[in-house]
Symmetry: D2
Subunit: 333 residues, 4 copies
């Protein structure tokens, strides 16, 4: 069994079925009848008018958002373990034309108003220093922590008071919402988030993420940036279809719940081996090299995550019976 | 019947079947067993060692190639009707960090060594003028003309003699090769082409094009640029699978032949209405507004292409029986 | 005698004297008492509130202006012989992060609303085409023609009606204003110009040009872009001093008049050899290679400017007695 | 007396005299006889063949160097207090098209092979992480420390072994060389440095720094980047003249020695108030707010530099008699 990452899982059957449904001639480039449903579908989901764009990767969603929120001469405050800082190969700098990521601290890759303000307050407001223009948080975080709506709102308040824009990287938004038990609206625009990267690929999709603008005025320029980045697929309906399938009858949320449940099972088994509280679908364990080897010998694959630590990620298609043997193996260590 | 563009057609069943085959857990990001086959498969097809990268759009393929071939302070000579100049929303400038497209003339969007040299020779070789560093041609061209291998080789010779790099936009490479009846090798690297955007989406694919480097040394940096552009899909195996399906048993070529045959049928019917010789799968017709309306009244849809002209594009799935009624309608005008 | 370019002339003594005056310790980076006078001085000169920034080159002034007026995904309409297109080594693309220059036609490098609209109207308003966002004209033009205030205003009206921004490259603004006999205000902001590159180096300065924002809201971001481009000199007072000296007691205008007068002298002598009307300080002559050689044999140096043509530029320090021998030599051809 | 920064001082009389000497008509844009002497003059000074370019600011020199040494998708390791990170308004990101600065630690802003390697070794060598391509050190450092030739060479060795390029920001290179008592060659190219920003403005110049390439092959592209950045002054001879004056008869070194001597005087007086050893011309003092106020009350101006610390910088023109009163005042605290 592989627990490397939820981005390696197969595609949900309902997503696959949706691809077959759109497999007929239609207009290219967002002009098809499925792409045209996205704004409405996501507006319903978020209980407010949004603009929704399909893109093929989460990096693309994140970086188009950052380009919309921060000028080339500005900075974006994020956690020093943020995906945009560490795992996107410099894409934020490419899309923003060289904006600077400004690194804040916080346990489990989670930011607070205080940790964000600490970064900003150390920057003299003169022409020599790049100034912060936006904040980006990841929910669930890179270490599987989840922001509650009030936590997001506190950051949103800080942003508003400082004149900064606010982005959420929701590569695992489904896991976050499933965990928090809140409405998607409460943890995003009602809390001040202006752009959301809404991830589906890690949660049962194939090749489509949604970039959601709650500040709908940002969409027009971003449509041009998306094209300019070579991200406008002619047969975009095959991406729209994935998002429509994932958001129909709460499939996204159900998938998130399944993965979270699997992680919870492991968390119970792991006890004080846990490096971080398990709030979504990622589990970080303290294990010795020997223990890691023992788990692998039993057929469980996962990444080492720094010395003495391992990361296990549960996917949408790994149900309890698939997880139980690993939980037992961890308990048996 | 719609003849707007081959990029609106459905996906070939064998491509769809290939998606189902890879729909199982595997390693993300090029690490899966299908992505790993691309270099070998395309090396076989081109009879030389190549590096092959999947990307989701032709614009991405083109612009990653240009970024590999031209520095930010350089220029790329292309036709003034080239797709990279007119239809990619400034993506070449984005990917190359501001290189300049230098526009050459030529009937039917086709370049010759003379038309290319004319552009270059008008540029003083001083620090005030951006200097050409590369040439990009489209094969088949934006007006459906096809370069013979010797025509490409003549441009390749010019590039070599001037120290320029050489790119081919092969969004309709299948149609071009099917038309020229040559080997893929003869019309590319044997003729001096160093990077090829090998299009599949217009020819039966869903969301995968291949960027082929004949100068394999260019691939390493491009893998980083691809990631940096948000184009590295975690579930890239669904793209690799499309390319593998399209290149198995000459599916790409067969599809190209079908589309070309349809266009030839229209060309016969059109006679001296043709604006350009029909060499691939696009047909440009002289029609009055009334004639265009008459065709549309009979259920044929297509784009106007400037005053008094119309463009009709044949897709891989439009076989003779689908084309014949249009041919008759054109003849009846 | 050299008539290559006015950018090779020495520095006016009053400019030199101003450098000596500021040669004392003061605050760095715009904080000195001379830099602080620029806004006021230029506001007086233009009879409206402006923001004025020193920069070391005209290219820097132009390209900072373009970056303020056009997003990376937009286009700037300019003449195909414009300095920004041909003589700035790709700086507009660098500063704007890849905006596209869109080339319009017009005799003597002069644009009209019609020639500008012709470029724009050929661009479909879809996501595939880069859309125009700004117009840039050069006054005096690259061929020494001068825009009258009403001509600028007609372009300004077009810009307003289309929602475009409007920039003037005034590398030879002094010559233009001296020639038109208008107020600086009439030919700029009253005619719709929002940013002006006000040149001094060709007119007696050493290393300082002014970038003037009539739309003062554009200055704040540009101050950051100027720093980010490495253009913020610590000892900026030596640049401010040059601009203050040039704008004191109309020195800029007097210098422009002298150079124009010299050109007029040559124009009289040249008669129908003139390629363009002589309205500022540049003279374009039809001369055979033998005639050019004859002039050079008499000690007059200048550039060939295409086959059968020569360019002669008069500098601020070439008064009538310096020009007369050349005028005689031209007449004697 | 002001001790804010050496970049606010006046210009050395010999530099001023040199401006007067070049104040005659000559060819623009590096074509003049003074600009042409730079390569030779600096090659002599560095005892090897170099290419030397004038630029108007140290930021421009640094960032052109970084653009030559690091691709857009790469990273540059520097100290977290480096000028390029904190004081250049994002210019490194602008010039490199988005390369990432990677921040290393070290007392007094000084790097060691170990601190550099620590940054690099934490970066997995995969496509998701930006990879280091170059190292940049500042000599003298932002806190006035000086690298000995063997310290630079140790970093140079690391760079060579890792395949990284090596840049030195020598905004205060004169102070560093004067302090180390070494040859300019020993602390640069003989120690592996490939590009040096050789500062003159802080040391008696007006508006000219030199960018020195020991790897001369880097110059050609940089000449184009310099133009493209709007940094190629037409009357560049006024910049070349400054560099020629500063490098004639060791003026640069003499000026550096004077400033260092002044700082040494203060260091003696400061005793254990020193935050960092004083090795060049900057003095960082521990002072209470009351003490700082007391110094200011006596007419000494300087910057606070974080809580309880002050920075005093000695300029080339502040000789012992100008410094002594401040030294006494510090001792009297």
């Amino acid at each position: 069994m592989r627990f490397f990452s939820d981005n390696a899982a197969p595609v949900h059957p309902r997503v696959f079925a949706a691809l077959a449904e759109v497999d007929q001639l239609d207009t290219a480039y967002d002009g098809d009848r499925w792409s045209k449903q996205l704004d409405g579908r996501l507006s319903d989901l978020f209980e407010t008018e949004v603009r929704a764009l399909w893109v093929p990767t989460g990096t693309a969603a994140n970086c188009l958002a950052l380009a919309a929120l921060c000028p080339p001469y500005g900075g974006v405050i994020c956690h020093r373990d943020a995906h945009i800082q560490n795992d996107e190969g410099g894409a934020p700098e490419f899309y923003t034309h060289g904006a600077k990521l400004m690194l804040a601290d916080g346990d489990g890759a989670k930011l607070t108003p205080a940790s964000i303000a600490a970064v900003a307050d150390a920057i003299a407001n003169d022409v020599h220093r790049v100034q912060p223009h936006a904040v980006s948080i990841t929910n669930a975080t890179e270490y599987g922590l989840v922001y509650r709506p009030d936590e997001v709102a506190a950051i949103g308040d800080l942003c508003r008071s400082r004149g900064w824009r606010f982005h959420m990287d929701g590569a695992r938004f489904a896991n976050a919402v499933a965990s928090a038990g809140c409405s998607p609206a409460d943890v995003t625009w009602r809390a001040g988030v202006e752009a959301l990267s809404f991830g589906f690929v890690k949660n049962g999709g194939m090749s489509a993420e949604a970039l959601i603008f709650f500040d709908t005025g940002l969409a027009a320029a971003t449509l041009r940036r998306r094209k300019r980045a070579g991200l406008l697929l002619s047969k975009g309906r095959y991406l729209a279809a994935q998002i429509l399938a994932m958001t129909e009858d709460d499939l996204w949320l159900d998938n998130g719940r399944v993965a979270n449940a699997g992680a919870a099972l492991l968390a119970d088994a792991a006890g004080d081996r846990l490096v971080h509280p398990v709030e979504a679908n990622e589990v970080f364990l303290r294990v010795t090299p020997d223990e890691a080897a023992a788990l692998r010998a039993k057929g469980f694959d996962f990444y080492d995550w720094g010395p003495g630590e391992a990361r296990l990620v549960i996917s949408w298609n790994q149900r309890e019976d698939a997880i139980r043997p690993l939980a037992d193996a961890i308990q048996a260590l």
